[in-house]
């Protein structure tokens, strides 16, 4: 399974990169989002997989032997998702405002802007 997941992660990264290299700002954001999905999965997979064992501690002696899936990567991903949400929301507003001001979504139009 890890091999398949690794390939899927790679594919998500590839999709992200490909979209990031487009000229459309919408695709740029999509690319970032693929990148962040891929990263979340990567963290999760490299933390180790345990099928169907949620992250709950049990009262009593068998706490460890119940072997839940590693909760720490989950906490990290959760934090990353939330942070990613905030930043994506901001980026979307930026995209909106950008379009409002410039009337284009073509990133190559940024070229002129840089040299002004």
């Amino acid at each position: 399974m890890e091999i398949l997941l690794a390939i899927v992660i790679g594919l998500l990264y590839a999709a992200g990169v490909y979209l990031l290299l487009r000229r459309s700002i919408v695709k740029l954001i999509l690319g970032i989002m693929f990148f962040s999905h891929a990263t979340n999965l990567l963290i999760f997979v490299s933390g180790g997989l345990h099928k169907g064992q949620p992250q709950f501690a049990n009262d009593g002696i068998n706490a460890v032997s119940s072997n839940p899936t590693d909760p720490l990567p989950q906490a990290l991903i959760l934090t990353a998702i939330v942070i990613g949400f905030g930043i994506t929301a901001f980026f979307l507003a930026l995209m909106y405002r950008f379009y409002q001001v410039t009337g284009t979504e073509d990133l190559d139009d940024l070229k002129e802007g840089e040299n002004k």
Binding site: G52, Q53, P54, F56
Partner: protein, 95 residues
């Protein structure tokens, strides 16, 4: 929270899960193909609804009631999402 529960043949649950995931793939076809925007929204909404089903079956599969919690929350947000997509699809051209 693990309860003593009945024994369900694994193939039953697995078959159900596979059917659900196939259903999602089919819906994805509609999402990709469209042709209209509402079609795509319907497709995504269906995928979301199917994930709720998937979650419930998975709860049975693993014997973990907690998976049902996902269903409640996800059902709420997906509904709101769907309404929002549709609302904003309309808004630009109608308000």
């Amino acid at each position: 929270m693990m309860t003593d529960h009945a024994f369900i043949p694994e193939w039953v649950v697995l078959t159900a899960l596979i059917m659900l995931s196939s259903a999602m793939l089919l819906s994805l076809y509609r999402l990709a193909k469209g042709p209209s925007l509402p079609d795509r929204i319907v497709a995504l909404d269906l995928i979301a609804s199917l994930s709720i089903g998937f979650t419930i079956v998975f709860a049975i599969y693993t014997g973990q009631v907690r998976y049902l919690d996902i269903a409640v929350i996800v059902a709420l947000i997906i509904f709101i999402g769907t309404v929002a997509y549709a609302t904003y699809l309309k808004k630009k051209y109608y308000d």
